[in-house]
């Protein structure tokens, strides 16, 4: 039963990339209770070696689905590509994929299902910090590496790492602190010294306000904090609290609230007297045309440009191949579905992990879970060069805290609603002192 | 006319208004022990409201209600039940999803004070015995296992009286026990009532004059919330005023 199911999944991917339409079709098929005979397994071609099982958790329903859709698609594509290129150490990758429902408790059950029933070797995915946190007790207990899809809580690679997850959490993308370290100066020098944070009233919004705010204040600027519920619809009560002398309005909301705050800032005319600054997470997976012309003039911190032509020239060949494999056009839209925008600043993590795992396994001689820590150590000391597997440019993993760094981009929405890159911030400028040292654990 | 003895229920100048409307207007009423007092009057005269005031379902706007010698004005219904006033409702009110046995049992055990959550209900021997004797009295012994929604309507009316009686009341308030019954069923009910309720002090609200004349010791006639006349059935029958406002209109 379980092997059939998992084979079916991977074979499906091998045969053709799973498109949105297929997702609908397969779910509809399942819903109708039809037999799954159409997924008949393709003959096994990898010899007697058992497959390497990879678990994947993403937000496919309920909340943050614009992320989950892309992280899932990219992860599936990358694993299919590794398999097409001969797998890892002669072994095939087998994917086990589950929905988090954006619900940490449910995700913990799914995580346990993957570890105990599917017996996965590694887990990757999810942008939800709560999902990762809920999985920590499990990955710590069973010593299963967890590769973050996009959780932004910097504490996960901070000083409590060891007690939180025992060093089994690996992150190759940015988070609230590295974003602040990299980008606060651009805002402070170019946009203004007096900042107001209007952020979602939960951990993510608070930590962005704290990380950016403390640096602005340390440099002699002034800050004001306003927090609004994460699902706020009407922002006028909050926008009217913005101090009259504010120069920079930093906002952080997800999904429709993220759109709402950008749009309503313009509706009340605040955009005329201040600059708007935000992280790309706010409208990730959402085109600027959805925000509308109200987004013109807003500054974003991107972790990987949405538009191909905004990327440094030397990375173009890799990016073109990566986009082609994942079905993304040069403007960051899904091929054949121009209403769907990529989660470009997050989904690359899922593209790179399978490759990092491949390198890690090859370097550490990993065979099974006994050498998981060696595998993690190998992965976390990788210094990736820009290439087909690393279209984001050089990516450095830091052994001390299992945290990765790559370049940041500051962009502004132009009148044609394009995100134009104004400045590239090299990864070195995003680095801060590691707060922990995980090198000593055995 | 029964001899005057201990007064069980006494209403002094009781008022009730809903918004601006005076539903009960300075009613004085006293019911002696063992008496069956009928309350009659046209629709909207305030009969049911008066019962609701006595048993605490509604709070009075003015006046006092005494039970024996104790004032019970505005006590809550469950307190009044414990003091010894039971009542039935115009629209049958039973635990309709439960069996006849459970209905009576629940009423019997309401006289107990302590409810131990760890004891099984049917182990309470005294409650069990009392329940069985109540089933005997009300004639439901053979039907005890039936869910009461399976009973005939007439039986349901009797069961409701049985429930009221099971709380061992000193005073019983009956609100139109024959409502919804045809005359034949009414007579069966009256016969039953005679057996079950002998010696009980009762205030009876009733539309069916036949039933009232048959059962009542005394009759009070309510009209627009006030007492119009009071006396034994024969006297009331002959009262001109009553004939005019009540009997006249009813039997026209």
């Amino acid at each position: 039963m379980e092997t059939k199911k998992t084979k079916k999944k991977v074979e499906g991917i091998l045969k053709k990339e799973i498109s949105r339409r297929d997702f609908i079709k397969t779910t509809a098929l399942g819903a109708a209770g039809l037999s799954l005979s159409s997924w008949a397994p393709v003959p096994f071609t990898y010899g007697a070696q058992p497959p390497i099982k990879i678990g994947m958790l993403n937000e496919y329903t309920v909340f943050a689905t614009e992320y989950g859709y892309w992280l899932g698609k990219v992860g599936r594509t990358a694993i299919a590509k590794i398999n097409a290129e001969g797998g890892i150490a002669g072994r095939k990758l087998e994917l086990h994929e589950y929905d988090t429902k954006a619900n940490p408790a449910w995700s913990a059950s799914m995580c346990r299902k993957m570890i105990l029933e599917d017996k996965v070797d590694l887990i990757m995915g999810s942008i939800h910090s709560g999902v990762h946190l809920a999985c920590f007790p499990l990955i710590k207990q069973y010593k299963i590496p967890l590769f973050s899809g996009g959780s932004m809580t910097y504490e996960f690679t901070g000083k409590d790492s060891l007690s939180l997850h025992g060093g089994y959490y690996i992150r190759n993308h940015s988070h609230a602190r590295s974003q602040a370290v990299a980008a606060w100066k651009f805002g402070f020098n170019n946009l203004g010294k007096k900042w107001t944070f209007l952020n979602a009233d939960y951990a993510w919004g608070h930590s962005l306000a704290r990380e950016f705010g403390s640096r602005v204040r340390a440099a002699g600027g002034k800050t004001q904090d306003i927090f609004a519920p994460p699902a706020t619809q009407d922002f006028i009560p909050f926008l009217q609290k913005v101090d009259p002398d504010t120069e920079v309005l930093f906002t952080a909301f997800l999904g429709s609230a993220g759109l709402g705050v950008l749009r309503q800032t313009v509706e009340v005319g605040l955009h005329k007297r201040l600059q708007r600054f935000t992280v790309i997470c706010t409208t990730e997976g959402i085109g600027q045309e959805v925000v509308g012309k109200e987004s013109i003039g807003a500054y974003y911190i991107e972790y990987h440009p949405r538009h191909l032509d905004q990327l440094p020239k030397e990375l173009h060949p890799y990016e073109i191949a990566y986009r082609k494999a994942c079905g993304v056009d040069k403007e960051g839209k899904e091929v054949g579905n121009p209403k769907v925008t990529i989660a470009g600043s997050h989904m690359y993590s899922m593209w790179i992990y399978p490759y990092m795992i491949k390198l890690g396994i090859e370097q550490s001689g990993w065979k099974d879970s006994k050498k998981n820590m060696d595998l993690i150590k190998a992965i976390c000391s990788l210094k990736l060069k820009a290439g087909p597997w690393c279209p984001v440019g050089d990516l450095v993993m830091r052994e001390e805290d299992h945290q990765g760094f790559n370049d940041f981009y500051i962009s502004r929405v132009e009148p044609d609603l394009k995100l134009k890159i104004l400045e590239i911030i090299p990864k070195e400028k995003a680095m801060y002192e590691p707060e922990t040292d995980l090198r000593k654990i055995v | 006319m029964p001899e005057k003895n201990e007064i069980i229920l006494e209403l002094k100048e009781v008022n009730k208004s809903f918004g601006g409307l005076l539903a009960v207007n300075k009613v004085n009423l006293s019911v002696s022990k063992g008496e069956l007092r009928a309350l009659i009057g046209p629709n909207g005269a305030g009969k049911t409201t008066l019962l609701n005031l006595i048993n605490g379902t509604l709070s009075v706007s003015g006046g006092h209600i005494f039970f024996k010698t104790k004032e019970i004005t505005n006590l809550s219904p469950h307190r009044i039940s414990h003091i010894g006033i039971a009542r039935t409702l115009q629209i049958t009110s039973l635990f309709s999803g439960l069996t006849v046995y459970e209905n009576i049992w629940t009423a019997v055990q309401s006289r107990k004070k302590f409810f131990n959550p760890f004891i099984r209900a049917f182990k309470w021997q005294d409650v069990k015995e009392k329940t069985e004797s109540m089933l005997d009295l009300t004639g439901f012994k053979d039907k005890a296992h039936l869910v009461c929604s399976e009973l005939s309507y007439g039986d349901q009316r009797i069961l409701e009286m049985g429930i009221a009686l099971s709380t061992e009341p000193t005073l019983l308030l009956l609100d139109e026990p024959t409502a919804g019954l045809n005359s034949q069923e009414s007579m069966v009910l009256v016969k039953k009532m005679r057996g079950m309720l002998s010696g009980q002090t009762i205030v009876l609200v009733e539309h069916d004059m036949g039933v009232v004349m048959e059962l009542a010791d005394n009759i009070s006639v309510l009209h627009y919330g006030s007492i119009l006349a009071e006396g034994p059935p024969d006297e009331i029958k002959e009262n001109e005023e009553v004939k005019k406002v009540y009997l006249g209109s009813e039997h026209a």
């Binding site: 779910t27 509809a28 614009e66 009407d234 997976g285 045309e289 959805v290 | -």
Partner: protein, 283 residues
Amino acid sequence: MVSNLAVAILNGIVWGLIMALIALGLNMIFGLLHIINMAHGALYMLGAVVAWYVIELTGNFWIGLMVAPLCVGFIGLIIERGLIRTIEDKPIITIICTFGLMLAVQQLVLMIFGGSPRRISPPIAYRFPLFELQYPAMRIMIALISIAMMIGLWIFLRKTKYGLWMRAVVQDREMAVALGIPVTKVYMWTFVLGSALAAFSGVLAAPIVSVEFMMGREVLIMAFIIVIVGGMGNLEGSVIAAIMISLIQGVGALFVPPSIATVFALAFMIIVLLFRPQGLFGE
């Protein structure tokens, strides 16, 4: 500060009227039929989604505003005939049934429409100055439409045959049957009208809140609270309740953190419920 307060009060009233409009359809179904329709939020969302497709096709907001309620009203008809009708006298069962419906509709929309929020541009882009800020005329427009709908419904309920029938059915269903009122028909049309109103408010709210498959979830609960606190079936009550909630939230947020202001608003609703369970204007 004074100007802040003035803006907060104006916005509180306007937003309250928008919320009241969202609660209006619920007030019909829930207040009149006493059916707890958990799928109401999903119908609200469906209205916005259908309107999005229509507006994509025609480019005209007002056509979307006309077409979406018709479509969703038709869906409401199917739901009433197919499901609710067989169980409408079992309130608890209707909760579960409509809850299941809500889950299914949300997932279907996710599959077809996708998960990321979409936009419906406001048909009126004009903004008028208000102290140091501006205020979007669209919101005033929605508030006015909300008032107009409320008055229209009030007249409908009191002056038309169907309205009288509806009220009669609410008063006493058996009596209504005895009087020859086609009760099942009244139920059906009330449900259809309620669904159409849900869609209508969804379309109107969409330019402010974005179109998304989950947009009905939290709104549903707020709308329920508004209808109950205002008094079931009581239109003016729910308007006042909605305005009170949003005023406490909006004005409160000037002085305390917004979550605390929301807690205050909810605590106020509890107090209203305890002292006036029949609703603000109930008898």
